[in-house]
């Protein structure tokens, strides 16, 4: 047996012995939770080689020992000073005074607001690792867990992704409880529920399931609870991971839940009967169920004029259609059926292709590749450099590709338009998916022309009509739903017209609360006069 192998076995045995010892200590502590010394031994064993753990022993005036334990980089030191150490030091010792209990300590001396007594070692360890302080008193069973958390956190700041010209500017941060506060601030409703669940065996990430109890779709809520409980993973580091763990179809390129950094978007979704997930350490909330048309809604839409919003939405839908189909259609028509085009346009295309060395499909693929490289490089480079690089790179590559005879001018226009159109979608994920889905369409169009393009489109539609988000069909309300559900789809009705929640989300209450406009006096000139006249007559009578 080699020396290395012997060393391995030795290390393994030592680890085994240590685990066994710790297990015994835990059993001992579970039998008699009054022994602060046993607790310290357990904590020291469990947190061996962990920096920053402070074990502070205090001797009370009545002779009892207190063990205060915390991790110094996770706590607010002033809280420990003010809430724990100073009150404990000031406990008077009268002659023959009875020994203190943890309950009395918590009720009379510990000055913090959030204090609980705990007996479970795993729970105690979790709390300690989250930044709470443990207070153990010799001779009294259990441990006081005092909230002293102060993890490093980014303050609430302006939205970075969903930027709006009109509307609130605050956005979620990595601290889930602050995010809940941002929602609660907008929704002062006793029916707003925030259920806390923990996912990730090692990360123990807090996830808050947020909904309005008397509005939410109950079936979707139950389904979401079931999916969250079924999550089995080491760590959830971001809501994007959680989204993939709870979605209906893992392989589709279409997002089945919305991600948003804006609390107002979450509140609007909750009011429709949907639910939200706030994940700790993630500045993006998940909103579900989602539909294809809701991915075209910009946060600003609700705050702007309905006519303008409707036009912008039409532009987004058309642009998405272009991003998906323009290169494929161009290849199909230019390669197979130029007769489908108006004559002058067909001649223009033929002229622009004169002297181009590559076939149309190769041109399209090459330009798509250039575009993706530019986009990726632009994203990776820091801010202004990335933008400059994108613009300059695009111009240089476009210009010189045409001059070199690699691609035609028309193809540069087509691909540039495709790239631009894909960014009009408010959902970045959808825009990217749509642009990439254009590639299979392009390949099918290159094989079977316009028919191949149609086959691809039909396949895509076939996939979309069968897709669901939390059990809700993805393409609602494009088909089958009452006219009232179309008020906020491609065209947006004025806000007073939104008297009912969309049926497809399955809310418990169909009608939105209080049509207040009815209660207000009609302030239009004629109405005021009429009202005044009626009042005068009534008064006169």
């Amino acid at each position: 047996m080699s020396g290395e192998r012997v060393r391995d076995i030795g290390q393994h045995s030592r680890r085994l012995l240590r685990d066994l010892n710790m297990l015994l200590e835990r059993v001992r502590y579970a039998r008699s939770p009054r022994d602060a010394g046993a607790l310290e031994r357990i904590l020291r064993a469990a947190l061996a080689d962990t920096t920053g753990v402070v074990y502070r022993h205090l001797a009370l005036a009545n002779g009892q020992d207190v063990l205060v334990t915390f991790i110094d980089h996770l706590v607010a030191n002033w809280r420990i000073e003010d809430f724990i150490i100073r009150p404990l030091s000031s406990i008077p010792a009268g002659p023959g005074s009875p020994p203190l209990t943890l309950e009395r300590l918590a009720n009379r001396y510990i000055a913090a607001g959030d204090v609980k007594t705990s007996f479970d070692i795993d729970e105690i360890l979790d709390d300690l690792l989250r930044g709470d302080t443990l207070v153990a008193l010799s001779g009294s069973p259990g441990v006081l867990v005092v909230s002293t958390r102060k993890p490093p956190a980014r303050p609430v700041s302006d939205a970075q992704i969903e930027v709006v010209a009109r509307g609130p500017r605050d956005s979620f941060t990595e601290t889930a409880v602050w995010n809940l506060a941002l929602i609660r601030r907008r929704l002062v409703d006793v029916n707003l529920r925030t259920e806390r669940l923990v996912v990730g065996a090692r990360s123990k990430t807090a996830v808050y399931l947020v909904y309005i109890d008397d509005v939410v779709n109950r079936t979707a809520l139950q389904e979401m609870r079931r999916r969250l409980r079924a999550v089995s993973i080491d760590a959830v580091l971001d809501s994007g991971m959680l989204e993939q763990l709870i979605e209906d179809c893992w392989w589709t390129p279409f997002p089945q839940a919305e991600r948003t950094e804006r609390p107002d978007v979450v509140v609007a979704a909750l009011l429709e009967g949907r639910l939200a997930l706030i994940t700790d350490n993630t500045p993006l909330a998940i909103v579900a169920p989602t539909t294809f048309s809701s991915l075209f809604d910009s946060p600003e839409d609700a705050y702007s004029r309905p006519t303008v919003v409707s036009l912008l939405r039409v532009t987004r839908f058309v642009a998405t259609g272009l991003a998906l189909s323009l290169p494929a259609l161009y290849v199909a028509v230019a390669s197979y059926t130029p007769a489908l085009l108006p004559l002058r346009l067909a001649i223009k295309i033929a002229n622009s292709r004169e002297g181009v060395a590559l076939p149309v499909v190769a041109e399209a693929l090459l330009m798509q590749l250039f575009l993706e490289i530019l986009r990726e490089a632009g994203f990776r480079l820091p801010g202004p450099i990335g933008q400059t690089f994108g613009v300059v790179g695009g111009i240089v590559i476009g210009e010189f590709s045409v001059r070199a005879g690699l691609v035609s001018e028309m193809m540069v226009v087509v691909i540039a338009l495709t790239g631009l159109a894909s960014f009009t979608s408010p959902s970045l994920m959808l825009g990217t998916s749509i642009r990439l889905l254009g590639l299979p369409l392009l390949l099918m169009a290159s094989v079977l022309g316009i028919y191949g393009f149609l086959l691809g489109l039909a396949g895509l539609l076939a996939h979309l009509v069968s897709l669901r988000s939390l059990g809700i069909p993805y393409l609602v309300p494009f088909a089958f739903y009452p006219p009232s559900d179309y008020k906020d789809m491609v065209l947006r009705a004025p806000i007073p017209a939104f008297k009912q929640r969309p049926t497809f989300y399955g809310p418990q209450q169909r009608r939105r609360a209080g049509d207040r406009r009815r209660d207000l006096p009609d302030t239009r000139a004629g109405s005021v006069h009429r009202a005044a006249g009626v009042g005068n007559r009534a008064h006169g009578q």
Binding site: L340, L454, A458, A462, S466, P473, A479, F480
Partner: protein, 363 residues
């Protein structure tokens, strides 16, 4: 049986009727009518639509009388377990034959119009694969696909046909010197073959939210098909004249005549044709899922069409692409295809009579 999410709202049946009926008849139907009845082909179309209305009413009456059961249960109730199963299988096979015919014809048209020098199988097989992929998802996705497509298609084509009327001479339509009742009836007889498919919706009844309410939407759907067919017949006759009787695809010619050079609608016929191809895929999916359901229900109690759909699609492809050398079989299938519309024409009346007799027996 369907779950809550597989259900189809009863209103959706209004769009399923055009989906089930639309096929090559939209493109060449006017030719058959005008070839026989001349400019009076619109009267033949009206007769056909009236009969279809009556048929749909009879179907609805039978279904309602028997408490809106699933189609296989209805047939068992009316004809007994053995004969009912035979009728179910024959109906499923008839729909499969129609699927093969529609796909063959449309594939030929696509190769002719869009893909010169491409073999028919290269067009037909991928189309059927996509349709089967959609059909395997179930009735609800197929119905949703229709609900997305039909409003665009129908609205577009009806606006086009209404515009086309402006270019025609309406007086031609009522020229009594051209009238012959015999020719009108003969043309109606020929047009029956081009306006079929509505009975496959019987398979979809269990998926309706409220099957007892599908009558109205079914009637509305037939009304839509009727309006389109009438517009098509009148526009073809008044714009293209009797020359439409000799054209292979008079509708395409008609739509081309509406296009305005130099404007956005210069090649509107191309757009029309492209959406028509998508509609044929939708029809294929609907037919596949319905025939899959009928054939599965005849042999298995679970009635899940998912397994049968690829088999039906493969069979339809084989029938549509029957290789040379199978002349006898090909002939037999061709005869079968030719009789399908008339069997369908008789089915609602037969069911209604059987229902009446059955009711007499039970009471």
């Amino acid at each position: 049986m369907p779950t809550a999410n597989d259900r189809i709202p009863h209103r959706a049946f209004a769009v399923l009727v055009p989906t089930a009926m639309i096929e090559t008849g939209v493109l060449r139907g006017p030719m058959f009518g005008i070839e026989v009845a001349g400019t009076w082909s619109w009267l033949s179309t009206l007769l056909v639509v009236s009969v279809i209305f009556l048929n749909v009413y009879l179907l609805a009456a039978v279904v309602r009388r028997h408490g809106s059961p699933a189609y296989p249960d209805l047939l068992r109730e009316l004809f007994g377990p053995v004969l009912g199963r035979v009728v179910l299988v024959l109906h499923g096979l008839a729909i499969t034959l129609r699927l093969a015919r529609v796909n063959r014809t449309s594939a030929e048209l696509i190769t002719l119009e869009l893909l010169d020098r491409t073999p028919v199988w290269a067009v037909l097989v991928p189309g059927l694969i996509i349709a089967a992929a959609l059909a395997r998802q179930g009735f609800e996705p197929v119905a949703r696909f229709s609900a997305l497509l039909v409003p665009i298609y129908y609205t577009g084509i009806m606006v086009l046909l209404a515009l086309a009327q402006l270019r025609g001479d309406p007086a031609m339509l009522v020229d009594l010197t051209e009238f012959s009742l015999g020719k009108v009836l003969l043309a109606a007889f020929r047009l029956f073959g081009e306006m079929q498919g509505y009975t496959l919706l019987l398979a979809l009844l269990p998926w309706a939210w409220r099957p007892e309410r599908v009558v109205g939407p079914l009637m509305l759907g037939v009304g839509l098909v009727g309006a389109l067919s009438l517009l098509l017949a009148t526009a073809s006759a008044s714009v293209l004249g009797t020359a439409a009787g000799t054209m292979t695809w008079p509708t395409l010619e008609l739509v081309e005549a509406v296009g305005a050079p130099g404007l956005l609608v210069e090649r509107v016929d191309a757009i029309f044709f492209i959406i028509w191809v998508l509609s044929i895929m939708d029809l294929s999916a609907l037919t596949l899922v319905a025939s899959g359901y009928m054939l599965t229900a005849a042999v298995s109690p679970d009635r899940n069409p998912q397994v049968a759909v690829p088999i039906v699609a493969a069979s339809a492809a084989v029938i549509a692409l029957l290789p040379p050398g199978f002349l006898q079989l090909e002939e037999a299938i061709r005869s079968g295809v030719a009789t399908v519309p008339f069997i369908e024409l008789m089915l609602p009346g037969t069911l209604w009579l059987a229902s009446l007799l059955r009711r007499g027996r039970t009471t």
